[in-house]
Symmetry: D2
Amino acid sequence: FGGKKLKGILERLNAGEVVVGDGGYVLQLERRGYVKAGHWTPEAAVEHPEAVRQLHREFLRAGANVLQTFTFYCSEDKLEISGNVTNITGAQINEAACDLAREVANEGDGLVAGGVSQTPCYLNSQNETEVKAIFKKQMDDFLKKDIDFFMAEFFSYVEEAVWAVEVLKTSGKPVGATLCISPEGDMSGVPPGECAVRLVKAGADIVGVNCHLDPLTCIRTVKLMKEGLEKAGLKAHLMIQPLGFHTPECNHSGYLSLPEFPFALEARAMTRWDVHKYAREAYNAGIRYIGGCCGFETYHIRAISEELAAERGFLPPASEKHGLWGAGLQMHTKPWVRARARREYWENLLPASGRPTCPSMAKPDDE
Amino acid sequence: FGGKKLKGILERLNAGEVVVGDGGYVLQLERRGYVKAGHWTPEAAVEHPEAVRQLHREFLRAGANVLQTFTFYCSEDKLEISGNVTNITGAQINEAACDLAREVANEGDGLVAGGVSQTPCYLNSQNETEVKAIFKKQMDDFLKKDIDFFMAEFFSYVEEAVWAVEVLKTSGKPVGATLCISPEGDMSGVPPGECAVRLVKAGADIVGVNCHLDPLTCIRTVKLMKEGLEKAGLKAHLMIQPLGFHTPECNHSGYLSLPEFPFALEARAMTRWDVHKYAREAYNAGIRYIGGCCGFETYHIRAISEELAAERGFLPPASEKHGLWGAGLQMHTKPWVRARARREYWENLLPASGRPTCPSMAKPDDE
Amino acid sequence: FGGKKLKGILERLNAGEVVVGDGGYVLQLERRGYVKAGHWTPEAAVEHPEAVRQLHREFLRAGANVLQTFTFYCSEDKLEISGNVTNITGAQINEAACDLAREVANEGDGLVAGGVSQTPCYLNSQNETEVKAIFKKQMDDFLKKDIDFFMAEFFSYVEEAVWAVEVLKTSGKPVGATLCISPEGDMSGVPPGECAVRLVKAGADIVGVNCHLDPLTCIRTVKLMKEGLEKAGLKAHLMIQPLGFHTPECNHSGYLSLPEFPFALEARAMTRWDVHKYAREAYNAGIRYIGGCCGFETYHIRAISEELAAERGFLPPASEKHGLWGAGLQMHTKPWVRARARREYWENLLPASGRPTCPSMAKPDDE
Amino acid sequence: FGGKKLKGILERLNAGEVVVGDGGYVLQLERRGYVKAGHWTPEAAVEHPEAVRQLHREFLRAGANVLQTFTFYCSEDKLEISGNVTNITGAQINEAACDLAREVANEGDGLVAGGVSQTPCYLNSQNETEVKAIFKKQMDDFLKKDIDFFMAEFFSYVEEAVWAVEVLKTSGKPVGATLCISPEGDMSGVPPGECAVRLVKAGADIVGVNCHLDPLTCIRTVKLMKEGLEKAGLKAHLMIQPLGFHTPECNHSGYLSLPEFPFALEARAMTRWDVHKYAREAYNAGIRYIGGCCGFETYHIRAISEELAAERGFLPPASEKHGLWGAGLQMHTKPWVRARARREYWENLLPASGRPTCPSMAKPDDE
């Protein structure tokens, strides 16, 4: 893979390639027993590296071009507040996480993105110096290790994201930035178009959204970002890493306001076929860095890779264990299951929930 | 753990202990990219041992007392028919799977169960000699390795299960046997009570059901088995490993007949709170070997362990990363999410599917 | 119509004719403002004869062969308890109701059935003499007027229904008897088959079920009645007047136990197409007296008449204002509505509730 | 009632009184067997006056202050196109309808509104002279009879409604005008605020919306009309007559685009409790003429009257047969039904559809 590795994230995007992102680590590792819900901190990178390594490896096999370091909420202030991690420092986690991502990325054609996310400090103080110092510290941890670019993600306020970008740009590495916002804009009401403009002006090479809302809503938000950039005469690559859940009734604050968050989201989970539609629509919207966030499991990432196989020119390793559009079912013992081995069947299926006493839509808590 | 390991499966059950089983390997490894749907064969034990090892480890951490070898459908006749595995023998898979289960079981208080399942040979020929030869061959693979007991599972016909038990009993090890049947009985119409009697008479130490139907339906079936045994004056331990999906509309042939099988079952997935109810009801029904089959993920097994923590006297390792009944949410940033950190909230929630254009019940294909 | 009127109810049924019954008066007149829910008494026959006359007339136009007198719960003991009627006697209501039914029946080919229903007296005393005296009094009211036959309906206990039949048979007129029971039997656990046998032995010429459960469930109950009669070597005509609501989750005590009863049943209402299926299945089950109870509106009765038009040899007057299977939509202004003017469209439609925050099934209060 | 009748519609509205409108005639009479779906013409006024009279009377008893003449689609061009009426002239229908409304209105405190609706001529020609001639002809029919004011309703294009108002104003009588539009505006894209301004400038005394969308959506539209009038410095009374169906997924063209229109709308029907919420919200929005259109049955109109009883100072006659908020259930035989005799129960109930294989939202045909 050595030759390919020469191609960095911007080379790929500049060349018009589709970059498949990875999926959601935090929720998936919660379900696997390694992350504590409510705290959501990434100490597993130190405590249970084999679990993190395995999930990285799954995403890589599923076709991801980028592995994000498992460093969500890994700023010192967040770790301290959460109280979940007492005997490990943020630096230890950050460094271990970089090593894990690098190790697995090198098993294939993978890039490593050092991930930085919103801080409690910003919410409490809005003090630019303090917040930037936190990002600087985390960046320095990453720079001790071999990462390819930075990703500032999960920001509710564009202002904090701009500060993150400004710090990360000092590294000389490419910087991506995604906000967890709705089409209405960030939490102070800055519309997506203006958010994108501010991020690009701050130095972001790639902008987009992640988390909080379902794929089609996130695509709408990224489209608004694109329009904003075009109006401002700016250029940047677009990326998207939405939820793997159906959230049609969500408002501005996203799925946190759903009564089902975070322990009863199962019925909202997307099928692989939902992901096919999402990947196609994201591609059609001009987005070229396409991944997932919370709720995106390995097979969802594979579905992105399979939907865009023609555009990318190849299928991922994990497709060896997956007949396209259900083709593997031709081997099933029951005739009626064999009859499902075709694209039209799965594209048109309206899956039942098996829960007749439950509603199909909830009332968000922020209404 | 050495001292504890002296206690075998029957010692534990005879002592009245709750034995927590593991979850479903095949569907989960399909989603992780290592098993091919339609074929459902376990070549990953040889091809990707790290992936199988990791899932074993998760189940162990979640409180499972037993790890089943990842040998589903691993009879030579099935492997040949499926055509998915050409360069690996069944013996290789069986032996590798035993080693993996043993390795991880030894990391904790785990027993290893060698798993044997229904064969195409039975469906085609119903020839006792041929079918028994297949079971004998697989048993011999296992006996080269260090397993604690045998588990004959996923049998639609009690006759075939009886043959499996008869073969496995020759090993001198304890034998469990579970059928994938409904309360109406096996596929030839033998009622659950009589199925249980036949299995116990054939030598099974543990009997019950697995797969095909949701937890509450499976409990009903095991209750019928229990009644049958009591009427016949027989004794055996009871076990259950149901689906992790809601299947209220299923008939005799179970979830294979649902239009959503196997690629759109997401909306039917049980929450951890559904599992709490299941574990309690199974316990109340007198079942002491309680696990899961397809759809049971790591956190579902942890939920069994947490519901029955008082009865077992301990919480599993993975509960370090899980506040009971949502307690971890007390740390959440949003006040309305913190308000969900209580048992009553999650016990009474009726989760929405986020899919208003989908029905809540399907029409099974076998109607 | 004079010539046709010579044919009484038994002549018609003996000749193999389909007899279309009328629909539900009480719920419909509640919605029109003339019956008080909770009391459910028929004083409107005296207070607002024009409203009762109009509903009779609609059912007749919709193809009903029988008009039941609007005398539900019109025994003196019930009227007294309900406290809703203070200045009118039961006799006055009964007589006014007979006149109204007769007047409208004479506008077409209609028979008048004098209706008698369960009494509070039975529930309180189970005293045969007292209960029979009440039926006798009501019967005498009817016999002052020109009615064609008697209908004992809405009995939860077959014992009380038998007493009613025994009294009504003394009139010399034909007697029908319907129970509001489930396939499990009456409220004392007498199975439907035995209920039917007892009623026929008491003298009922027509037996069946009415109210409390949806059409397909009621058909199952009538089938059990039929089997019971056949086993006993008895013969009787079968009739059915089910709810016009979907009640899939109901138990023994029927729709009274649904949380939606009686003021939020709208979403459960059957479409005319549901009625087509019902009418066909009832006919196929050998039932020849086919009508409806609570929830059956005028257009539902017309749907019975239209489904069985070939068997009866004619369409009812109200079909002048109804294109069969939506044919009238060929005139609609929107092209997509015109595209619905065909049978296949309406037969296969799965109608949405427009209520995404509501469940599709409730938990009955008698569980 | 003579004294009260001196108060015309404008006197009432000018005095700040709540005016309760009537419900939907066309759909209700279709279900009663007197109107042909697809044609939707009002020949029943001549053919079956007793049926029209009865529905007028029900609405009056339910508290309606206004009875609209049953003259929907009764322009000569529409009657000719529909082909449903061959031996009766439009003039005959219009005159008969006026007599029926007058006769019943005189039984209580009712006003008669002569109703005029959109014409095929407008859609085909947009010729102002021709369209106005049609309205003039219909107006002249009404002026031969004793009507209190005019109502131009069910207009998709404000231009045609303006022409209707201009014609009707020549009569010297008050004129109301309602459009069947969404918050997005009329079919040519004129926003609701501007629609209202144009109608008032044309001479309308009362403006608002009717039909096509559910109550809460219609309230939003009327609020936009109100804002438009306020911005323009104009004054007019506001009215609303929405659908009695839940249509959350509808777009601009309203419920005609729902797959359930017009023969499978049952599951969408509003309960009386839905109407309570609607009446309160409409009142709070400053609307004082509050009624219903298609799907509004007698008991829905009574619910408006009951919700606004304090504001109006009286309950309608039909409330004699209705315990407020379910109070009548205190008489019910089952204890669990008696427990429903309270406001909180009905206000919070989420009614189930009893249709687990059906979705809760449809895909409109105009998407």
